[in-house]
């Protein structure tokens, strides 16, 4: 399945989730939906492949309010890093490739998340901590000359996060979050690297609809 098709499916599912939102609100106060815009900074081995800031990211989360301060939920996202590298030489076992390279990494996290918000629920601003764990579907693409090399792998990963929750109303919140995304190595040799772990720092602005 191509990345674009997967993202389209995620968006369609999100839209479907949103359509019964008014009904959910009326019938079940515990459920919520979070949508957000993501930016990211590649670090570690990811930075060695693409060292550019990512401004292309989005995602959402379906949450369930377990207690007044704790949410659990399922989070999905999409983050794209890309960059142009002229006169780039990439070496691998038994050879090398040289030329203008357009490199990209697309990461799709699929995580189970737990969030704990600190402070009294009536406070306007509250810090929160969260931890997500699950899978990262990562596609690395290298375009060299007229050729494209691509590798898609599923990584186990986790995402600790800290943020601030700004209460905009009884059922609406603005969240500003910093997180660390660690996708562990899938064990596949990608472009000459046997350890293909991917790490990036996420900067997110999210709107939460729900308690």
């Amino acid at each position: 399945m191509s990345t674009r098709r997967f993202v389209s499916i995620v968006l369609a599912v999100t839209a479907l989730c949103m359509s019964p939102l008014p009904t959910l609100r009326a019938n079940n106060d515990q459920w919520g939906l979070t949508l957000g815009y993501y930016m990211a900074i590649p670090v570690s081995a990811m930075h060695d492949f693409v060292d550019r800031y990512s401004w292309q990211g989005l995602g959402g989360e379906v949450t369930y309010l377990a207690t007044e301060s704790d949410h659990i939920g399922f989070a999905a996202g999409w983050q794209r890093f890309d960059g142009l590298y002229r006169d780039a030489l990439s070496e691998f076992a038994g050879g090398a490739v040289y030329g203008t390279q357009v490199r990209s990494i697309t990461a799709i996290p699929l995580l189970i998340k737990a969030t704990h918000t600190i402070g009294d629920p009536i406070q306007k601003i509250r810090p929160y901590l969260s931890l997500g764990a699950g899978a990262y579907v990562v596609t690395e693409v290298m375009d060299v000359g007229l050729y494209e090399f691509s590798s898609t792998n599923v990584h186990l990963g986790f995402m600790p996060a800290v943020g601030l929750n700004f209460r905009l109303g009884y059922r609406n919140n603005l969240l500003l979050q910093v997180d660390y995304n660690a996708a562990l190595s899938s064990g596949t040799n990608v472009f000459g690297r046997t350890d293909n772990h991917q790490n990036y720092i996420g900067l997110k602005a999210l709107l939460h609809f729900g308690r």
């Binding site: 989005l58 050879g95 090398a96 030329g99 357009v102 000359g145």
Partner: protein, 229 residues
Amino acid sequence: MLMKSLLIPVVITMMVLPSCFPDYGLDVEDYRAVFTQYDTAVYDNPAAKAELRSFYLVDSVFHVIDPNSKDTITRAYDRQLLSFVASNFRSLNWTQITDTAGGVEPSTIIRVSVSTQTNIGYYLNSWNTWDPYWGGGWWGYPGWGWGGWYPPYWGGSGRYTYATGSLFVQQDRIVPASNPSDTAALHPIWLGTSNGLLTSDQQSNINMLSVELRQMFTQSPYLALPLQP
């Protein structure tokens, strides 16, 4: 209320954002690439590499073309290409054998090949022109005697062609036959390939090829042999 008014723009942004990709403004030089591959069992093995001392360069450039097509690749630069390949190997301490009739057997044989390909693509351009065709001079439903309605033709489509060229330099190790009556086998141990878009300027194409040939050897430092005593 504010959140409800933000909802639709947020959703629209989420649906548009994945389709935004940067345009890097690449030109012809950006579509050229140089690939090299080598047999690690030979070049990463000092004992195996020590058996390689010399090469024989096939004295013509092979044109890889469709048997049913006419060969339109020029031979004006064959000597230049072969001379460049030979001089690069010699500079890496390889000995060139030019006359195998003298009983001196080279340890490797090098062949240079080229190929070209014309690629054709089509595009539909439905945004730049809008030319509705209503058909029949009348507008209306078929069967009502008004001449029918035809779906509008938005117009704008095109065909484009581009040519690509590839240069191959292959080095094979000559493996002598165990039986003197059999022929020796050739085992590929190094391949250099350059590939990219061709322009209508032949000299420009050759200049790029020269740069790429140099790059093949630059990114293959393992080809260098120790100086012979």
